[in-house]
Assembly symmetry: C2
Homo-oligomer: 220 residues x 2
């Protein structure tokens, strides 16, 4: 069974290109022939790797779901203190313009109906993660849910504002950005847990030894 016979494309390459197209042109913009042109090949290649366009979309969605749940949450979970985790999630909004474009594109997509399932699962896991964070701060289930919904709203709304009003949003390197994040954390943490305004610990669970491997920047 021979393998790479030169510059052979893989199904993963197609799925990644599909994700890129989703971010730039929306789900409807994932068309086989234009994608093939961008990859420097023709449809003949595509229909060897996939049975049809829907199969490509499912592959892309599976990739997206993996990245937006396991990987991101694993990164955030390096922070052990719930406050630091929450702050980390809020700042993660500014990590990738591309990721936010893909999310909003998928969220507003309707045509391949199975897209909604993926969006729902990813959102569900993100929200549950926040609920757990607030529960770890000692809040009851109802209160934790309310705080989590509020924080997740800010998270999603920030994505939207960055897209609709890019001029109103401070760049990640702008000092106003750090100011705004500090401001947000005051509203997004219950008063009992508001011991520090920075990513230091407070004493509810554990310490925060993570050296912040993935930084905030890379935006714009």
């Amino acid at each position: 069974m021979p393998k790479s016979q030169k510059n052979a494309l893989s199904a993963q390459d197609w799925a990644e290109a599909a994700l890129e197209a989703i971010g730039r042109r929306g789900v409807e913009g994932v068309a086989v022939e234009p994608l093939a042109r961008e990859l420097g090949v023709t449809k003949g290649s595509f229909y060897w790797h996939f049975t049809n366009r829907d199969a490509l979309l499912t592959a892309a969605l599976a990739r997206w779901e993996a990245r937006e749940t396991d990987e991101v949450l694993a990164r955030v979970q390096q922070e052990t203190d719930p406050r630091a985790r929450i702050k980390r999630l809020v700042t993660e909004v500014n990590t990738s313009r591309r990721a936010s474009r893909i999310y909003t594109a998928l969220s507003s997509a309707t045509k391949p109906s199975f897209v909604r399932e993926y969006v729902e699962r990813v959102s569900q896991r993100r929200l549950q993660f926040l609920v757990d964070c607030y529960a770890a701060l000692g809040l009851g289930p109802e209160r934790a849910r309310q705080w989590a919904l509020q924080t997740y709203s800010v998270f999603l709304g920030s994505l939207q504002i960055r897209r609709d009003l890019p001029d109103e949003w401070p760049a990640a390197d702008d000092p106003a950005f750090a100011d705004y994040v500090r401001f947000l954390m005051v509203s997004l943490l219950p008063p009992e847990a508001r011991t520090e305004d920075n990513e230091h610990n407070g004493g509810t669970t554990a310490d925060t030894p993570a050296p912040d491997p993935q930084a905030v920047a890379q935006s714009r």
Copy 2:
């Protein structure tokens, strides 16, 4: 110049149908022939009222912009107290599922490039309205902007959550909804202005005599 010769369609009818299609199938879903079928006519009718598809989209967008700025803000401005206005804006999220679907569809649209201009103007005016509300509470420009950004994020994020996780969002008639709104208002009002947790006044500007004409419900 004869006018209505029976059940004649107007350009407004087409624009309204286009808006409906945007909400249900996205901007790409605004196709002339399917729309004509839904209206019980053929393309011949359309190309009498409009020169092409882009003209229809601009008409629909103009309609949308008028409704989402002047009309909504005029309604909210019936509240004279800034706190009541802010609360009103937050609860208005739940007035119309249709309006939120149209907004997210437009926000994620890319293909007719002029769509972005409309979205930007509407977002700009909404945010500015919030900035004015917080300025009326006595905050300085920088603080008012931070509070407004936070509130607008919650506003937009709530739209998104209602769409992505409909089961996690309390219905407008659910008592949990009123609970959540009260909870939000605590975080969304600066401490100095947090005199009441309800829609009563506090004494910064004037009273709140509006009899709440458009209620919250109609959701789901």
